[in-house]
């Protein structure tokens, strides 16, 4: 079965710290991968996406993610977080069903 796993459920960082959120997926075929962010009280917004090509994908607000096919991973990174990055982050994949499958989400709390 196709699935997505986010290892970190709750991450607490201080401002200016570096961020890496893990995402692994389970599917052997071609995948599309996404990271969405949900700020407190708001809807999900697309941070970045990978369909093909360069495995290092840059998104909005200084976020990037690297697709490593051999590891079935699509980790999200940011070199220096800000208090405004406090949010919940969701990794998602789309395999051959055409439907989005989401991970459980990671809550990021950035302390000023």
């Amino acid at each position: 079965a196709q699935s997505v796993s986010q290892h970190n459920h709750h991450v607490i960082l201080s401002e200016a710290a570096s961020l890496e959120l893990g995402c692994n997926y389970s599917y052997g075929g071609t995948v599309n991968l996404f990271w969405y962010v949900q700020y407190p009280g708001q809807h999900l917004q697309l941070l970045l996406k990978y369909f093909s090509g360069d495995p290092l994908v840059k998104g909005i607000k200084g976020f990037e993610a690297e697709f490593i096919k051999s590891k079935f991973s699509f980790n999200l990174r940011k070199p220096s977080v800000q208090w405004s990055d406090t949010a919940e982050y969701f990794c998602a994949m789309r395999g051959n069903t055409g439907k989005l499958i989401f991970g459980q989400g990671t809550t990021l709390q950035v302390k000023p």
């Binding site: 997505v4 809807h43 989400g105």
Partner: protein, 114 residues
């Protein structure tokens, strides 16, 4: 932001009552989706639509029905609400199911079933 609205934004209801949530889009996108968001589960697909009057089940469809009589509106109905359906419901839209397509989400509806 994509032109997606959901109504109501908040609703409290009692067990056993029917509830209908509405998703409205102004983007003329063909595909529309209903998800529920629960702690520890991320978002799970309830139903989706690939055109007017064309719908299909998702991962957690039991207890829910949908209808789409117009391109812009996708309704989710809880036939007889239960406490396990207390959740936040998100609608999403996409232009097509192609591999390069992206889903965009509405603001959500917080439903509490007492």
């Amino acid at each position: 932001d994509a032109g997606i609205t959901q109504s109501p934004r908040h609703k409290v209801t009692e067990t056993g009552t029917p509830v209908t949530l509405r998703c409205h889009q102004t983007e003329n996108h063909r595909y529309m989706y209903w998800y529920r968001q629960d702690p520890g589960h991320g978002l799970r697909l309830i139903h989706y639509s690939y055109g007017v009057k064309d719908t299909d089940k998702g991962e957690v469809s039991d207890g829910y029905s949908v209808s789409r009589s117009k391109t812009e509106d996708f309704l989710l109905t809880l036939e007889s609400a239960t406490s396990s359906q207390t959740s936040v419901y998100f609608c999403a839209i996409s232009d097509r199911a192609a591999s390069t397509d992206t889903q965009y989400f509405g603001p959500g509806t917080r439903l509490t079933v007492l």
